[in-house]
Amino acid sequence: MSCDPANRSGAWIHSTRRLVVDSNIEDMILRTICFVVAAMAIVATVGIAVAEDNVDPTAVKSEDGKYLDKEGNPTFKVAPDGTVDWYTYSGYRRYHSECHVCHGPDGEGSSYAPGLKNSVNTMSYGDFLAAVASGRKNVSTSQRNVMPAFGDNPNVACYMDDLYVYLRARANDAVGRMRPAKHEDKPPAAQQAEDSCMGKR
């Protein structure tokens, strides 16, 4: 499968909604989506491999306000005074809108679904995106756990990195159980990505 952002045809673009936007942002989004689609393909063939995510979460660089680890995966950044990066903060908000009704407050888990704070430690960034985009199903005599596919839900799909970064920060105890008190300003790139992904009002 080609994951060249220049390749703007193909059904998978249509399913991810309203992506007719200007160059940089679109490339960024397409890169994420390619990753998701690729990861989904892997899941379809081999299933999700459970492995410790041993990648050092330390941010080594920043791209338009989004911090990346040495592997180039999104990560959190917490300043000594507790100020968190925008994506951690945004992820907190999105998590408590879309995810907490099943997974419990602060990624802690519930009687209904597992604590994602622990789950992100056992899955790679790609596995995470794939699970959110295509859902999971664990139905047996004793288990009846089903997670829906959020790939078509812009309230989730447009904020996958935000959710990942927030949960990664929780997994590494970089942020506590509560709304982060202080956060960096919303980067213009995040605003543009949001507007184009959500469809401007």
Binding site: H100, P148, M198
Partner: protein, 628 residues
Amino acid sequence: MRKMLFATCLGAMAAFAADAAYANEELIKMSQNPKDWVMPTGNYANHRYSQLKQITADNVGKLQVAWTFSTGVLRGHEGGPLVIGDLMYVHAPFPNTVYALDLKDENKIVWKHEPKQDPNVIPVMCCDTVNRGVAYADGKIFLHRADTTLDALDAKTGKVVWSVKNGDPSKGETGTSSPMIFKDKVIIGISGGEFGVRGSVTAYNIKDGKLVWRAYSMGPDSDTLLDPAKTTHLGKPVGKDSGTNTWQGEQWKIGGGPTWGWYSYDPELNLMYYGSGNPSTWNPTQRPGDNRWSMTVFARDVDTGMARWVYQMTPHDEWDYDGVNEMILSDQQVGGQARKLLTHFDRNGLAYTLDRGTGELLVAEKYDPKVNWTSGVDMNKSSPTYGRPKVVDQYSTEKQGEDHNVKGICPAALGTKDEQPAAYSPETQLFYVPTNHVCMDYEPFKVSYTAGQPYVGATLSMYPPSGESNMGNFIAWDGKTGKIVWSNKELFSVWSGALATAGGVVFYGTLEGYLKAVDAKTGKELYKFKTPSGIIGNVTTYEQGGRQYVAVLSGVGGWAGIGLAAGLLAPENAAAWQGAAGRAAAGRALESAERNVDTAGLGAVGGYAALSNYTALGGTLTVFALPQ
């Protein structure tokens, strides 16, 4: 010949009509037999009161477990069993297994019904795969499945007599509520307020499952079954298209107002009563206007579905205060006059008493003193804001706007009370109410709608009220005056339906798993026993072979299980909230918080306890009786 045919036809019609009315009369008669428990609500008035008095305030302390039964399902177990003669009917959450047990023969399984349902319905059930129980009439057991299918089962064999599909889970429509049988109709609601469904109530014929009428919570008059001239709101006609003209554009089509609560019925007035839930989305800015008729008490004619009167409790909801809680019907003296009353404990923290014939508002008072989003309801009939709650600006998520985190709103979205039904004793004339004692921060923001996907639009965090550590209370309430008579603190929200009895005992369950018995007059705790899992089910009583039994389903889950499993807050957050150490350094804050919590008076962990430290999943029916 023609004459004869006509006569036969008339005769057949009359016979059919008599047959139709029979189900209702049969049920009324059966519900007067205290040995049985024939409908989920105890009786049509939703009293959850039993005339049985073998178990009394004096001897309840000797109660013992008589027998238990595992449902084989792990999820949250709401509702309670039915008892009809020698058979008990026990239901379970998804996959919605129903068992018929023979009470006369070692509680053996007579039949079991396990419908095949697509597991894809599981993730569109907002707050666990709960089911609130089955109903009985006309020799059939009615099951409202998660996937919205209504199954009518032969009560003796469990065989499916007929089956109809009420909604579409691919749009987020699901079934959690218990059916109720009024006359020859089975009434069911719909869940999915967090998925942008448009709520409706539907009446099916108990004989064949044929749809008789469907009434939506919002939409044109032909959908809402509101008569512009005859249906009243606070004594005035609602006017034309009241179900669309307080909405902007076509938002009403995904307007919410689900109907997953309990239903009551007054056979004399031929009116049924229920409430509608939250408008969609939780972000109020995206739906300007009063959003009628979400958050509304409905009184509908059972035969036609036409609304006699409506009352919107929380116009333009800004906090997810669903109005679905039960409407309890009582006949009491108010101001020296005999009145036919309806009492309702709303999620918004106000307890309402209305005249159930006319919809006249008589009482609207807070049933938790911590409720702060409103300063009260305008009771002045000549005021332009008559019947509306006065919203305190500081706690208005609409006034503060999108992307603004409004702090310290009481109650939290789970309400001062959720679906867990209260009981009413005609003897003490008191209501016994399981309540939540939880506050929240609420930040609304823009969301877009995708069919079948969550449509929420707000970020929430919840915690006990400032300075307090108990997350629940079990209270006795005087509906005539709007006053708390007594109040017992509970560590966690009380998420179990109450039972009042002629023995002067009131029963309820707790989230840790205790079945508790308290004195109906004083609230004094008389007995407790820890069942295998947390209780979110409703307590039932029945008599078999001369013994009175008390039964309850345990099996933690539901919204309570989701919100409280991990505890509402960690100690460091509790400290920040309590202001005890909010500004201190993190380490010191934690230490101080632990001290704080230790001295909270409700055990070592105080109000910030994690439910997961007390109980785990698993559905079990526990049945109690006095020793023989």
